[in-house]
């Protein structure tokens, strides 16, 4: 398969402008500014079928089209480079090794909504990646791809690389905007949506790194070439980050609809050390775990993973072998969400810590009868009752672990110890 997103990865000095340009870089940007109206660009991306790669899978062209054209306020395009989902490290690879692809995609996105200021909000911990992005933005300014009168047109655009400061929640788009406004990363109630009331109350679109990085290829080769790849509703290619008990962890680019089992066994070399698979999370730490027999017929596209009872999410695949204690795994994720809850909505603020405490006591031999149902009850009271999707993300993993490995959880409670041997 021809690589779209990883096309420059592995090339010497892939992060520099010279290398990027020698591989056709910024030709799409020139084409967009020189010959396309914003409406045409939006239609082209709609026709490509590209869906947001941050987790929700919302159609990108449609997201842009919600920005009102007659609104006199400034408009903002924000590239979400705040990658923090457990098990996900695909954006980091692009940020560090192909920053110009992200920048070119950001410019194209900004042009689509006629924004004159774009931000790249990069995760604070990714200091090296932020330096590469900043340097790449400088290079693009010097080459005239960013700035005033781009390619001799009347279009002006500034790009600001902005570093976060350590908070998972800032990957949620309204939290990211609160953070970019200089405040705590607190999500905002939707509606109104960012498309009409975003950064500083102005029309704003937030797109994920991977989404934007696909744009230069789509504009170069055309929507039809992109939509020829993938399945009926999941077009193109997607990056998958594979980690845990797997022989060849790493970032892979697959055509949407690729068989999950084949991917794990052939492309990734199967479970490490010849052990058996016990469970796999397909879409990052906030998505429900799947059992080995549940993935037999699953293909890696939005619809197929959803039909199996999980979600494709960020494409963060976490593999767990037969030696894994599932109570401990559930506890690990529950602790993560308890740590990262922003504290705004009480079901999430209280519920996440409560679930963590219960899972902790089960793992350490102090579980009580009724604990499992109590966790399911708490999870059920968080999901859907918070202003942002974090509540669902925190509620799904413990619920799925308990439903799928109930015997193991019950044994921990009954025998008052970790029955897997930790």
């Amino acid at each position: 398969m021809e690589k779209i997103l990883l096309r420059n990865i592995g090339i010497a000095d892939s992060h520099t402008l010279d290398t990027y340009r020698s591989r056709g870089g910024y030709a799409s940007w020139q084409k967009v500014v020189g010959s396309m109206k914003p409406e045409q660009l939006i239609e082209e991306v709609k026709a490509s079928g590209l869906r947001g790669r941050g987790g929700a899978g919302f159609p990108t062209g449609m997201k842009w089209s919600f920005v009102p054209k007659d609104n006199p306020k400034p408009k903002y395009l924000v590239c979400n480079a705040d990658e923090s989902e457990p098990g996900t490290f695909k954006d980091r690879l692009l940020i560090e090794e192909d920053p110009h692809a992200i920048i070119e995609g950001t410019l194209i996105g900004a042009y689509a909504i006629q924004s004159h200021t774009a931000f790249i909000y990069v995760r604070g911990e990714l200091a090296f990646g932020a330096t590469r992005l900043e340097r790449a933005v400088e290079e693009a300014y010097q080459a005239g791809y960013i700035g005033k009168n781009i390619f001799g047109s009347s279009y002006d655009l500034d790009v600001i690389v902005h570093r976060g400061a350590g908070a998972y929640i800032c990957g949620e788009e309204t939290a990211l905007l609160s953070s970019l406004e200089g405040g705590r990363g607190w999500p905002k109630v939707k509606p109104p949506f960012p498309a009409t009331h975003g950064l500083f109350g102005c029309p704003t679109v937030v797109n994920n790194v991977e989404t934007l990085a696909a744009l230069p290829w789509i504009l170069d080769r055309g929507a039809a070439a992109y939509s020829a790849l993938g399945t009926e509703k999941s077009k193109g290619t997607k990056l998958f980050s594979v980690s845990g008990h797997i022989a060849r962890p790493g970032v892979y680019e697959l055509e949407m609809g690729y068989p999950f089992k084949k991917f794990l066994e052939e492309d990734c070399g199967g479970v490490s050390n010849g052990r058996k698979l016990k469970g796999v999370i397909p879409g990052g730490g906030s998505m429900p775990v799947l059992l080995p027999d549940e993935i037999d017929k699953v293909n890696l596209d939005y619809e197929s993973v959803q039909a199996a009872g999980s979600l494709l999410g960020s494409g963060g695949v976490i593999v767990m072998d037969e030696s894994t204690c599932m109570v401990r795994a559930a506890l690990n994720l529950a602790r993560f969400f308890a740590h990262e809850s922003c504290g705004q909505c009480s079901p999430c603020r209280e519920g996440c810590h409560w679930m963590e405490k219960i899972l902790h006591r089960i793992e350490y031999g102090q579980g009580e009868q009724g604990d499992l149902d109590l966790i399911l009850n708490i999870a059920g009271n968080i999901a859907g009752n918070t202003i942002c999707p974090f509540g669902d993300a925190a509620a799904w993993p413990p619920g799925a672990f308990i439903r799928k490995f109930r015997g193991e959880f019950e044994a921990h409670v009954a025998e008052k110890r970790c029955t897997v041997g930790h």
Binding site: P86, G87, T88, E125, H162, E181, V242, L333, F336
Partner: protein, 157 residues
């Protein structure tokens, strides 16, 4: 000693603020600057940044305390942050923490008496494919083994 920016830092401050469409948006980069200048962001630094930014100390405190990368107390020269989230946990994050604890004689959250190291356990650092890993100040150290950890710690003076 009054907490305030050097003339050079003030110049950087003005350049940062000028980049943004609104002054308040410069809060995080200004706090990074404050942390670089003062080592950590204590109450005096919060009050100072609040004055510079034209905001209340309470709001600045709210921001500083929200984000994990702002240190409200002094920390060691080398801040070791071990990722403990699931992918790293599956591949030996606990070994990393216990090796460091053993070598340095400190628990997570503590600083060595000589001020050389602070140890923290943190959540997913987007390095899951190269687990287990740790971050020391701005640098990532990946695919860690006991031997490698020893060498890294010895090299950090």
């Amino acid at each position: 000693m009054a907490v305030e920016f050097s003339p050079a830092a003030l110049e950087t401050f003005n350049a940062i603020v000028a980049r943004y469409p609104k002054k308040e948006a410069a809060m995080l980069p200004v706090l990074y600057l404050a942390q670089r200048e003062f080592g950590h962001i204590g109450q005096e630094a919060i009050d100072y940044v609040a004055r510079l930014m034209g905001q209340s100390s309470a709001r600045v405190y709210g921001v500083v305390s929200f984000y994990t990368m702002f240190n409200m107390k002094p920390i060691g020269r080398h801040h070791i942050q071990v990722c403990r989230t699931l992918s790293c946990a599956l591949r030996g994050a606990e070994m990393v923490t216990s090796t460091i604890k053993g070598k340095l004689g400190i628990e997570p959250g503590q600083t060595t008496p000589d001020g050389r190291f602070t140890l923290s356990e943190v959540e997913c650092l987007a390095s899951c494919g190269t687990a287990p890993m740790m971050q020391v100040n701005d640098d990532y150290y990946e695919n860690l083994t006991e031997g490698k950890i020893g060498e890294i710690l010895d090299s950090l003076k």
